[in-house]
């Protein structure tokens, strides 16, 4: 049983399909949840729907001062920070030769800088709480090279590397840092892919379907819970077998 009662979680990118499911499942298991996203209307609506256990903060993960606001909100509203889910990400489907500096930098700022700032921001409150759990959402593109999403793949490999380093550094504070590698998940992020690409991705998934956002959220909930108390630096692929 993955009870999270009494814990407070921060979920970034919570107005997106995967972040929303993560926030909902964490709340369902008893956690208080701070949802953050740049999309205020959608994020507020989800937090309102979850109820008293949720609050929304409009937040760009690449803003360090924004992170201070998020952590302060968690502390003032719920009293602690125990779980951080670095979920926010953007994808731009460009090959290396078609990727311009602006695109690369934008993907870097959200997908990599945002994860770094998030982890850094929660260390002190998690130390104060006697420990914590950070779950970084990488991607199958962080386990393999890709031929079509160059900047995204680079940023997701970075998430993997940062997770391992942070797991080593923060274990002494009983802060567990793990990463999840979703495969092709049925979310609007795939809409940006070129025509035909999603069909090919399903064909290369042994399970022959896209994953659902809640299937990733279940893995996040497990890693966030006391049940995963000896897991740190773990890399959990939720990809229907795609990375085999």
């Amino acid at each position: 049983m993955t009870s999270l009662s009494g814990l407070t979680a921060i979920v970034t990118g919570a107005a997106g399909a995967m972040g929303e499911q993560e926030a909902r499942i964490l709340a369902e298991r008893g956690a208080n949840v701070v949802l953050t996203d740049v999309r205020a209307d959608e994020g507020t609506a989800i937090a309102d729907d979850i109820g008293d256990a949720a609050v929304f903060v409009q937040h760009d993960v690449s803003s360090e001062s924004g992170w201070n606001t998020v952590v302060e909100t968690a502390l003032s509203k719920f009293g602690s920070v125990n779980v951080l889910v670095n979920n926010a990400a953007i994808s731009k489907a460009f090959k290396l030769i078609d990727t311009d500096v602006e695109t690369f930098d934008l993907v870097y700022r959200v997908n990599q800088l945002g994860v770094f700032l998030g982890m850094k921001s929660v260390v002190e409150p998690m130390k104060a709480a006697g420990g914590g759990a950070i779950i970084n959402i990488s991607s199958v593109a962080g386990l393999q090279g890709t031929s079509t999403i160059f900047a995204y793949s680079a940023s997701k490999w970075a998430v993997r590397g940062m997770t391992q380093s942070a797991a080593l550094e923060l274990a002494r504070y009983k802060i567990r840092v793990n990463s999840v590698f979703p495969g092709v998940i049925d979310t609007p992020m795939n809409d940006a892919n070129p025509p035909g690409m999603n069909e090919v991705l399903v064909k290369t998934t042994p399970l022959r379907r896209m994953g659902q956002a809640h299937e990733v959220a279940e893995a996040v909930a497990f890693l966030a819970s006391p049940q995963a108390s000896f897991a740190t630096g773990a890399e959990l692929a939720i990809d229907g077998g795609m990375s085999i």
Binding site: G183, H214, A219, F230, A231, A234
Partner: protein, 273 residues
């Protein structure tokens, strides 16, 4: 809410086979499955320990089966089919570990490590497959699941454990090979790789757990894990919560497989524990 999970009783009505389930991780796993509603069959070689675990819970029964004995395994599968008509989860946790220097290792030692730790999982999984498949095909379950217990030593081999590590590394490869072939018929195959866990088996190589500071200092979490912490991961992987997990390897090692750190380096950054 879209979650379909029932956190407390995820395996109500399910039939679960746990090999090597009379002690350590296997026993903790059997008890967790039983507590979540499953009918659990435990196998092992030791009849006394088997009787103990069977008497510990109404939903657990013991069958004295050696996983290297294919005839006995086939007979067990017939018994499961006749008794329950279904099989939802197989946990291949039967394993043995002994440390031997490579240079003087006997062929017999090599064979024992390979037979129990690797070939056993092959036999049990292949023998269980028809029933795992028919449980899906008959509509009794959306998917069924095989969970192989590898080890930190399947990823990074410690001195003295070249035979054991070879078997455990091969078990990860076996997991992947089975996963891609069997998912078509609804059988999910995944792996869980424990690090140093406080069990009778680990104390056989690490000595007295209480006095093994040299071991715990190499674990970023600063301690051994418990059998129950591995069991919790096995249940997650086997559950419908992990329905999109195929061929994955969940490492539960307190960070021990992360790149090792020399104590002097940590001291330079004022990072001693």
């Amino acid at each position: 809410m879209t979650s379909t999970a029932e956190p407390c009783r995820r395996f109500e009505g399910c039939v679960v086979l746990v090999t090597g389930g009379t002690s350590g991780i296997g026993a903790a796993t059997a008890i967790r499955f039983a507590n979540e509603g499953a009918q659990v069959l435990v196998t092992g070689r030791d009849e006394t320990r088997g009787a103990e675990i069977a008497s510990s819970h109404d939903n657990i029964q013991f069958h004295q089966v050696d996983v290297t004995d294919r005839d006995a395994i086939d007979a067990l599968m017939e018994t499961i089919e006749a008794t329950f008509g279904r099989l939802d989860v197989v946990v291949n946790s039967a394993g043995v570990v002994n440390a031997r220097p490579f240079a003087s290792m006997s062929t017999r030692h090599w064979q024992e490590m390979i037979d129990t730790n690797l070939t056993g999982a092959f036999h049990v999984s292949q023998a269980a497959l028809p029933l795992l498949r028919s449980t899906v095909a008959g509509g009794s379950a959306k998917t069924t699941s095989i969970v192989n217990l590898s080890s930190l030593n399947g990823l990074r081999v410690d001195p003295g454990l070249s035979a054991y590590g070879s078997a455990k590394a091969a078990l990860i490869a076996l997991t992947e090979g089975m996963a891609v072939e069997l998912i078509e018929s609804g059988v999910r195959v995944n792996c869980v790789s424990p690090g140093a866990i406080d069990t009778p088996m680990s104390s056989s190589t690490a000595g007295d757990i209480e006095n093994s500071e040299a071991f715990t200092s190499a674990i970023p979490a600063g301690r051994y894990g418990t059998a129950d912490e591995v069991a919790a991961a096995i249940l997650f992987v086997a559950s419908q919560e992990a329905a999109f997990m195929v061929g994955a390897n969940l490492v539960i090692d307190g960070g021990a497989t992360l790149p090792s750190r020399h104590p002097d380096l940590l001291n330079m950054f004022n990072m001693e524990r």
